[in-house]
């Protein structure tokens, strides 16, 4: 089943464009979350990064998926800075590796992409679940995705589980004290606030998901 479910370059290009749009729409919301327990720039940071991506995307469209995501990641890494720059930069750079230089991937490879990207975030930031970071959304989400794949769930359903568990993970950051990132120095005062990186992670996954649901219809 997974081998027959093919996602082509158009899907990924659309996702990247939608990511840029989504970030603009949520810029002030994410920045607002980061004002509570960080330095009030998470949305701004991502906006700066994705504007750079959009400036260059046209030139990358002829490349294969591995190269495209590497370029996206490098743009984020190069333009964003801060914590989310290297983290999302690494994530997107590694996202394309399982595509092995191809222009389309099957769903199994699609799953491998997220595995590869999320592991890169963990390697870069050294955060674990419970530290009140984006890892609190990404790791449980990915674990659920893995299980769903292993038990042979339908693609849309499997990714839906991924997103749902990521959202739960993001919600679960609210009562936590932070052990990584700027919020770390807040101690008890971080309690009651959602981690902004976990929120943006869910929004990013949601863009992939929305396009997945629309995929059959459009192509």
């Amino acid at each position: 089943m997974y081998e027959d479910f093919i996602l082509d370059k158009a899907y990924f290009i659309k996702v990247i464009k939608d990511l840029a749009e989504m970030i603009e729409e949520n810029r002030d919301y994410l920045t607002g979350l980061d004002s509570e327990i960080g330095d009030g720039d998470h949305g701004t940071n991502l906006s700066i990064g994705f504007r750079e991506v959009m400036k260059n995307l046209g030139q990358w469209e002829n490349e294969n998926l591995t190269v495209i995501f590497k370029k996206v990641g490098m743009a984020l890494l190069g333009k964003v800075g801060g914590a989310s720059g290297p983290l999302y930069g690494s994530m997107f750079m590694k996202l394309g590796e399982p595509a092995h230089g191809k222009e389309r991937v099957n769903f199994k490879e699609f799953y491998e992409m997220f595995k590869s990207g999320i592991e890169a975030v963990e390697n870069r930031g050294k955060a674990v679940v419970g530290d009140k970071t984006m890892v609190d959304a990404l790791r449980p989400g990915l674990n659920a995705f893995t299980e769903a794949i292993e038990s042979g769930e339908k693609p849309e359903k499997a990714f839906g589980t991924f997103l749902e568990r990521a959202k739960e993970g993001s919600q679960s950051t609210i009562p936590l004290i932070a052990r990584k990132g700027r919020a770390m120095r807040l101690g008890e005062r971080a309690i009651g606030h959602m981690d902004p990186g976990s929120a943006s992670s869910c929004m990013i996954l949601e863009v992939f998901y929305r396009n997945l649901l629309n995929y059959k219809k459009n192509y």
Binding site: D41, T44, G82, A83
Partner: protein, 331 residues
Amino acid sequence: MRRLINDPYNIVEEMLEGFCKAHNKHVKLLENDGRVVVSKKAPVKDKVGIIIGGGSGHEPLFLGYVGEGFADAAVIGNINTSPSPEPCYNAVKAVDAGKGCLYMYGNYAGDVMNFDMGAEMAAAEGIRVETVLVTDDVYSSTEIKNRRGVAGDFYVFKVAAAKAALGYDLDAVKSAAEKANANTRSMGVAMSSSTLPITGKTIFELEDGDMEVGMGIHGEPGVRRTKIEPADKVVDEILGYILPDLPFNEGDEVSVLVNGLGATPLMDLHVAYRRVAQVLEEKKIKIYNSFVGNYATSMDMAGMSITLMKLDDELKELLDYPCDAPYCVIK
């Protein structure tokens, strides 16, 4: 928003263009990287390269301290955001004179990730880059290694840069920086937030008439929020945290930095300095020299921080060593 800007997405580039034009006797922008401000004298033969940096919005920190006898380069991030790895690496390539380089910056997770990646890239080419994180803000953590860096940056950078200018090797320069950092303590008070150009809003809310003691320069929460108290009381409270922390003792000799966060008049900083001097005199701590002004700001934030560095003969000599940077000239 009471700011004078153009497109907020270009603000850092425009600032850097203006800065390098205005101070073209001292600095230039790196040709292959628009986020690296380098000294016109760099690379200096047989000298360890001094590279400082971090998010912008704290001017004159970092770029104002690039120049002869001070830093060789500053790496500039977006507002309140660490620079990315590439310019950190490019700065090394630009200023390394074969003796290696020292990265110095405030201890923030984002900066550590990005500068470390820059150092790895340099290491891959066989250039040794060491790092000293500034951790002067006493209220930010009980554990010193977790503390963030604020205005104490100025002292740590100055001392290490002088050591490098004297021709010492990377290990010696690094230990001078570590020694300066180990002897430096800061704490601040904020009376307003700063305005982020892209959102046009303040980072956080702080009602007119309120203040927060212990707040960080990015608006990180402090000890408590209260009505603004008399300057003397605020100074006493801050010193109450700083003095026992090192501790600074009777007979010690110190340098004092009363730093404005951007929107606090020199008038108020001197009123505060007066109280610092009174308290230190009472405690028989000798003031060797003093700096009062905007050294590490948060754009248009109203507030002040106090930094003390405990001195010995070496630190005095390094602090007094001449330098000629756009925002710090010492004869």
